[in-house]
């Protein structure tokens, strides 16, 4: 029972309460009283009450089956939260499992399996578990399950993709019945958001074989065929009141974008992920179909290694950053489904985004000046790109075009998707990487910009930046923290080894009768959470 506008204005809890009241027959007056009680100004509460009534009139309906296709699937498909690797895995995990917390539209952590979480020093955190939650096999959720689900990531034998994140945890223990205490090595104010990410899904303690998909999530696993499809059915004992709406979801991974769109338009699918910007016009032109767009922190970055030529030359790096015609690339490469970025990784929707940073624009004269100082002449400079780094091939072509005008000789090398991450990314002197949305500023900065980070693809090392990063993590004063993140964005923008031309929106397409999709900007398909929220309109 949720509406994005209402939730944005009131937050999940309050909007739910208001809608509940309306459903029980509350009048507009009652709603206004409730809002006033929550400290809302009168003008705003009238607007909200009207909106709430409108939303209540379009209440979700129950039942039906949704057929969904994501973009990737293979026999590597897995139900082990520690090993999820692609859209299909993420979507499946959100259907079967819950985390302690969940994301809202602004990626702030909301209560999920933990109904309360707090900390005095951002180092010792307590999570009060929700009562009466059961796993799909009937067992009740206990603190031990949470301890197991979090601590297993620290064991190298688990092969967790979240090992780096989990290593900031010192210990997890059941501090009281229905309560878990997480102790960190260092303070981290963003822990609750981190625990809302896919790997930290809660599974029954001691689970070794994940193929039955036992979790607390809104759906139970009915069929799981690797590389082909999975079918889940509604969990009738789901703890979140009234959810989910649909009875069954069938999820398949289809690698071919054209095939996904065609199957949607032919009525064989209801929701498809990862729409190419070039298909938007087609879907929107077809009666009965719609495009679901989310602006997100996803970006592709051109990394110029600082420890080898030509990236070690600061003038070259600046010249490259000045050669991106960002607005034009957003228009002709992403067809407007992107926003211009500023060579730093924090998305404008993030609360720590630093708006005061001047936007870097295409400037051929300045670029020429720096390029001439770099003394590279017309030496061919290979730029490594691959279809796995979103739009990197196309963006390189655009870059090449401006580079030609100042006499810089860029050579595009398109590499196959397989082997790219292990052998080209972060290894080539100049090459593209790709970063999926991270839940908070600290995560993306730690993972991709800290000097020691494995994924620091430009090999950019700045001790001052590292200090700031650690300091910001434990800073509890919000405005001081904001200033620190602003400094870090400035440093990356000015001195960093990466060019970040755009933030790319995620695009999905769906049958227009399918309702309930709203923004959760950690990835496509509503941050992969669609299954819990969608419903069929009559």
């Amino acid at each position: 029972m949720s509406d994005p506008r209402l939730r944005d204005l009131l937050g999940t809890a309050d909007s739910g309460r208001v809608l509940d009241a309306l459903a029980r027959g509350a009048s507009r007056r009652d709603v206004l009283k409730m809002l006033a009680g929550a400290g809302m100004a009168l003008a705003a509460s009238h607007r909200i009450a009207a909106l709430a009534q409108g939303v209540a009139a379009a209440q979700p309906r129950y039942g039906g089956r949704v057929r969904v296709a994501s973009a990737a699937s293979s026999i590597a498909d897995t139900l082990d939260p520690a090993r999820l690797s692609n859209q299909t895995d993420y979507a499946r995990s959100r259907m079967l499992y819950n985390c302690l917390t969940s994301f809202d539209a602004s990626l702030a952590p909301q209560p999920a399996l933990a109904e309360r979480f707090d900390s005095d020093d951002a180092k010792r955190w307590t999570f009060k578990l929700r009562g009466g939650v059961h796993f799909h096999d009937g067992r009740a959720l206990r603190a031990e399950d949470v301890v197991f689900s979090l601590m297993r990531h620290k064991d190298p034998a688990t092969i967790s993709r979240a090992k780096v994140l989990a290593d900031q945890i010192d210990s997890v223990r059941a501090s009281a019945p229905g309560e878990v205490e997480v102790l960190l090595h260092q303070s981290n104010a963003d822990l609750p958001a981190t625990l809302a990410t896919f790997p930290f899904a809660i599974v029954p303690a001691g689970t070794r074989d994940f193929n039955s998909g036992i979790g607390t999530g809104p759906f139970k696993l009915k069929e799981f065929k690797r590389g082909l499809r999975s079918i889940v059915v509604r969990n009738r004992d789901y703890w979140r009141e009234g959810r989910p709406y649909v009875d069954e979801v069938e999820l398949a991974g289809l690698g071919d974008e054209g095939a996904r769109v065609n199957a949607l338009l032919s009525g064989d699918l209801d929701l498809v992920a990862a729409l190419d910007p070039r298909s938007v016009r087609r879907v929107e032109g077809a009666p009965g179909f719609a495009v679901f767009r989310q602006s997100s922190g996803q970006y592709s970055d051109l990394a110029m290694r600082q420890d080898m030529a030509p990236g070690s030359n600061a003038d070259f790096v600046i010249a490259i950053k000045l050669l991106f015609d960002r607005a034009r690339i957003a228009e002709s490469v992403a067809l407007g489904n992107a926003i211009v970025a500023n060579d730093q990784p924090i998305h404008p929707s993030n609360r720590f985004y630093f708006a005061g940073l001047p936007q870097r624009e295409l400037d051929l004269d300045k670029a020429r000046y720096h390029f001439e100082r770099s003394d590279l002449g017309n030496t061919p400079i290979p730029v490594v790109a691959s279809p796995v780094a979103n739009l990197s091939v196309e963006m390189t072509l655009a870059l090449q075009q401006s580079a030609n005008r100042i006499g810089m000789n860029l050579q595009l090398q398109r590499m196959p998707p397989d082997g790219y991450w292990s052998h080209y990314w972060g290894k080539s002197a100049v090459g593209w990487g790709n970063v999926n949305p991270r839940p908070n500023a600290d995560a993306v900065l730690t993972e991709f910009f800290e000097s020691r980070a494995v994924n620091n693809d430009a090999h950019w090392k700045d001790p001052q930046f590292d200090q700031l990063l650690v300091a910001a993590r434990s800073e509890v004063d919000e405005s001081k923290r904001k200033a620190m993140y602003a400094d870090m964005q400035m440093m990356i923008h000015e001195k960093g080894g990466v060019a970040i031309p755009l933030f790319l929106s995620s695009l999905d397409a769906h049958n227009a009768r399918l309702k309930g999709l709203s923004t959760i900007p950690v990835g496509g398909l509503m941050g992969y959470e669609f299954a819990e929220h969608v419903w069929w309109d009559a």
Binding site: G258, D276, R278, S386, P387, E394, L397, G419
Partner: protein, 290 residues
């Protein structure tokens, strides 16, 4: 059964009169003209096309045909006519060289195997079976990993992938011929292996092998697109026609020229090549020898 029929001599059918250039007949001449036209485009296109025509975002994405941009625009708003003309050199030249190479090498080995027989035949045949059984994706990937990317490498890879197929067809044709009386006679006459291969057997398998070459050419043209996707050979912005079809597939639903034009270019070229190989005087060559 026909086993007792004497070796072939001049046949009535092959005495058909031929017209057109080099005796290719009208369809063959037409095919040759089309190939020559595409070759001309392949050589000259780079000097015709202004640098700006390839600019991203110069036109709206998948723009329809218009004055000055006769084939509209591709998926990045680049002039499609320029893309097709520039693509000719990668498709025509690469595919011709690779297909002829594959056919020549395959036929050469097949002749050797058929005429020699015995262990050489066994080694060659089983070697080719092994080669064809290596997944072509794996083969292409290892070529990239080992030798980097270049157009000569692309030609080599495409040729190697199609050698075993050509070999198998050619050998099947050649063993039939090698068993014929006149070859047996020539053999007992003490003719050299080379003589048998080139003068006795080759002319008699030339006609069907040319047909095979025509098809192999088509396959190579289509293979180029998937190889360049693996990072082998042609690198963007350059693109062969198959790649042009693939990258503009998003225009198919509205019948966009961006996907139709390169597909038509492929069709005209492959058709022309096959018209020529159909018309080539393989049969007459045999007659001349006997």
């Amino acid at each position: 059964m026909n086993a007792s029929v004497p070796a072939r001599s001049a046949s009535a059918a092959s005495a058909r009169r031929r017209s057109g250039v080099f005796g290719l007949g009208v369809p063959g001449t037409l095919g040759l003209l089309v190939i020559l036209a595409w070759l001309l485009v392949a050589l000259a296109a780079p000097s015709w096309i202004s640098a700006g025509a390839q600019d991203i975002g110069g036109l709206p994405v998948f723009a329809p045909a218009q004055i000055g941009h006769w084939l509209g625009a591709d998926y990045l708003g680049r002039d499609m006519l320029a893309r097709v003309l520039l693509g000719a050199r990668y498709t025509v030249v690469v595919a011709l060289v690779a297909a002829v190479g594959a056919s020549a090498v395959g036929t050469g080995f097949a002749l050797l195997a058929a005429v020699s027989g015995g262990w050489l035949d066994t080694v060659l045949s089983r070697g080719m079976d092994t080669l064809i059984s290596i997944p072509s994706k794996l083969f292409a990937l290892i070529m990239v990993a080992a030798f980097g990317t270049s157009v000569p490498l692309l030609v080599t890879t495409a040729a190697v992938i199609y050698v075993p197929g050509a070999y198998r067809i050619a050998r099947a044709l050649a063993v039939n011929v090698a068993a014929l009386d006149y070859v047996v006679v020539a053999r007992t006459r003490g003719e050299s292996r080379w003589y048998l291969m080139l003068h006795e057997v080759l002319p008699n398998i030339a006609a069907p092998m040319l047909v095979d070459l025509g098809l192999r050419f088509v396959y190579v043209v289509l293979l180029l697109a998937s190889l360049s996707f693996l990072g082998l050979g042609v690198q963007p912005p350059a693109a062969d026609w198959g790649t042009l079809v693939r990258e503009n597939l998003g225009a198919l639903w509205e019948g966009g020229l961006a996907v139709v034009a390169p597909a038509l270019a492929i069709a005209t070229l492959t058709m022309a090549v096959n018209l020529v190989v159909d018309a080539l005087p393989g049969r007459d060559a045999r007659k001349a020898v006997r």
